[in-house]
């Protein structure tokens, strides 16, 4: 079943928590706790030395995982046969894809049971080769859009993305959160006008209230840095599971109230 289908079938506001693969010895415990807490999909970061398009927390988490000796193939080996019933979406930088070659990389993902792939530093213009390899392997290549993406390009993204469209906004400096939520919401609506894929929104969401607000105009949210901050500060799978559960409840409650 396609990633898009699996997401649509949930019939609720979507929640995609993120974890950096290899961040601790028992990092796969986080995947299990996410699933148990009601994640609809999980973003699995394959750490890269220079995550230019992520913030400082993800940079720190990537550095920590690499320092532990984490590698993309090692991480994939660890999830192989984990038997999660939640789809996994890998995210990484293009240099790691190139390292193996697009086809080999996608095949390795597929082999490990990964459903989708996010490559934030892959420009639309150069996505052709990877998109083909992914399609051929049965991996959904998820494309990203941001508030500054011009409309014709947004249309192209909506058309060529698979699984969902990842709407990101990193104007995430303190004190601007209200304006952010507004521009992210507007972005989600713009994407929905030009295509019909689910739209997940990620812009530094950390509280249940923010998740609820973000989900109002989109199909769901991604929570990454807030989770990794907790993990870097020592939170184990249970602690993080509790946090994800709270996000889940807030999203569900909001949906109930609206009905």
């Amino acid at each position: 079943m396609s990633l898009e289908r699996r997401l649509r079938d949930r019939g609720r506001k979507l929640l995609m928590p993120y974890v950096t693969g290899g961040i601790t010895d028992d990092w796969t415990g986080y995947l299990r706790s996410f699933a148990a807490a009601g994640a609809d999909a999980i973003e699995l970061g394959l750490p890269f030395s220079d995550p230019t398009l992520d913030g400082a927390t993800i940079q720190e988490a990537s550095d920590a995982a690499l320092a532990r000796g984490a590698t993309a193939h090692g991480i994939l080996a660890e999830i192989d046969g984990l038997g999660l019933d939640v789809p996994l979406v890998a995210s990484t930088y293009y240099n790691l894809v190139l390292r193996d070659g697009t086809s080999a990389f996608c095949a390795a993902l597929r082999q490990a049971g990964i459903a989708g792939l996010i490559v934030p530093d892959l420009p639309l213009e150069e996505a052709g080769e990877l998109a083909e390899a992914a399609a051929a392997t049965g991996i959904d290549l998820v494309l990203l859009a941001s508030p500054s993406t011009p409309s014709p390009r947004l249309y192209e993204i909506a058309r060529r993305s698979r699984g969902f469209v990842y709407a990101v906004s990193r104007m995430g400096t303190t004190g601007e959160r209200a304006a952010l939520a507004e521009s992210a919401g507007a972005l989600a609506e713009r994407i929905k006008q030009v295509g019909d894929l689910p739209v997940l929104l990620g812009f530094g969401i950390s509280t249940p209230e923010q998740a609820v607000e973000a989900a109002r105009r989109a199909d769901g949210v991604v929570v990454g840095a807030a989770i990794m901050r907790r993990i870097l500060d020592g939170a184990g799978p249970d602690d993080v599971g509790t946090y994800v559960t709270a996000l889940r409840r807030a999203l569900d409650q909001e949906s109930d109230e609206r009905r």
Binding site: F48, D50, T52, D63, A72, R99, D121, S148
Partner: protein, 359 residues
């Protein structure tokens, strides 16, 4: 993309070109001289000519490119420049260009470089720029670049990202080379006056990202001159890198077996970058240019030697080019009497505290 269109337009606008030329002449001090180096030439048995980018305003070739991009930013209606810097020379150039044109400037710099180049940090602040210290990763140029890109993404409407070398996404490598080709074009004309052969046998420049080399080579790529790019042993993107993608461009990068970018190490902060501009990867593949490396030790020796023979203290970056020429001349790799153009990309004042500990 928007930048590319604006640059194409500006390039064909005589008004833009004239404004830039005036700035380069009146503020930067162009043309820079082509200086003979009689004493070192005699010692090495070859004829050296030095293209003196160290004499430009702010002390390095970086200003050529920055004024071009700053003018472009003004043309695009931007009010602020964002940039990363390694040794601080690009940052000083950006701060200078911003002050000159009445723009704001935010410069990102790795924490280690902030320490190594404290005076350049203060120079930028004197010029009114905001300097942001980056504590992530190796705390050098690579991380400053990542952080600057992150910041710029959040301010694309008011801010223009001023790339300092022939790196980054299209159109930067091409645009920066075009702004730096004034080095090669001037040198080509000056060599025609200074050399019986009109064109030197060798054209040598240091390579970090590779902007001074790209600008120099641009003037000689259509001649018979052999082009040599000299890299730091610990930052040899062109000599030892593998194809990869970073910071929005595909080129040669130092990386481990897993595709993780490794840290560059050089005594010259400006060469502390694990990659090289895509044009250098191309020139290498074509066999049109050759890329070699020299050790930190050779570099320090070359800086001292140029200082004592010609009264010029080069930037440690530029000393890489000198170091290779010395080695090649001594090894007989340069035929006796060969004519060699070396671009001195900047002056050594910024490196005094580093040199002080070593000499």
């Amino acid at each position: 993309r928007e930048v590319e269109g604006a640059f194409r337009e500006a390039r064909s606008d005589p008004g833009f070109r004239e404004r830039l030329e005036t700035l380069l002449a009146l503020h930067v001090g162009r043309p820079t001289p082509l200086t003979p180096a009689p004493r070192l030439s005699a010692e090495l048995g070859v004829t050296l000519l030095l293209k003196r980018e160290d004499l430009t305003h702010t002390g390095s070739h970086k200003i050529n490119n920055v004024l071009g991009q700053a003018l472009l930013a003004t043309r695009m209606g931007r009010t602020r420049l964002i940039a990363e810097t390694g040794a601080g020379m690009h940052g000083v150039a950006v701060a200078t260009g911003a002050a000159l044109l009445g723009l704001r400037a935010t410069v990102f710099m790795g924490e280690r470089d902030v320490e190594r180049q404290a005076l350049n940090v203060f120079r930028m602040r004197m010029l009114g720029a905001e300097v942001v210290t980056v504590g992530a990763g190796s705390r050098t140029l690579k991380d400053a670049t990542s952080e600057a890109m992150r910041h710029w993404v959040s301010a694309t409407e008011e801010a223009y990202y001023c790339v300092g070398s022939v790196v980054g996404p299209t159109p930067y490598p091409w645009m920066v080379r075009e702004f730096q080709r004034v080095i090669g074009d001037e040198a080509r004309g000056q060599c025609a006056g200074a050399l019986a052969s009109a064109v030197p046998d060798y054209v040598v420049a240091c390579v970090g990202g590779g902007s001074n080399a790209a600008g120099t080579f641009a003037g000689f790529v259509d001649t018979a001159a052999r082009l040599v790019g000299v890299e730091a042993e610990g930052g040899a993107g062109a000599s030892r890198g593998r194809l990869g993608v970073l910071h929005g461009f595909r080129s040669l990068f130092l990386q481990d077996e897993h595709g993780q970018i490794t840290e560059a190490h050089s005594i010259a902060a400006g060469l502390d970058y694990p990659g090289v501009g895509p044009e250098h990867a191309y020139l290498r593949d074509l066999g049109r240019a050759r890329y070699v490396t020299v050790s930190d030790e050779e570099v320090v020796g070359a800086a001292v030697r140029l200082a004592r023979t010609e009264g010029i203290v080069p930037a440690l970056e530029s000393a890489h080019a000198i170091a290779w020429v010395i080695r090649a001349a001594v090894a007989g790799e340069l035929p006796p009497g060969a004519t060699v153009l070396i671009t001195l990309s900047g002056r050594g004042d910024k490196d005094m505290s580093t040199l002080k500990e070593l000499v």
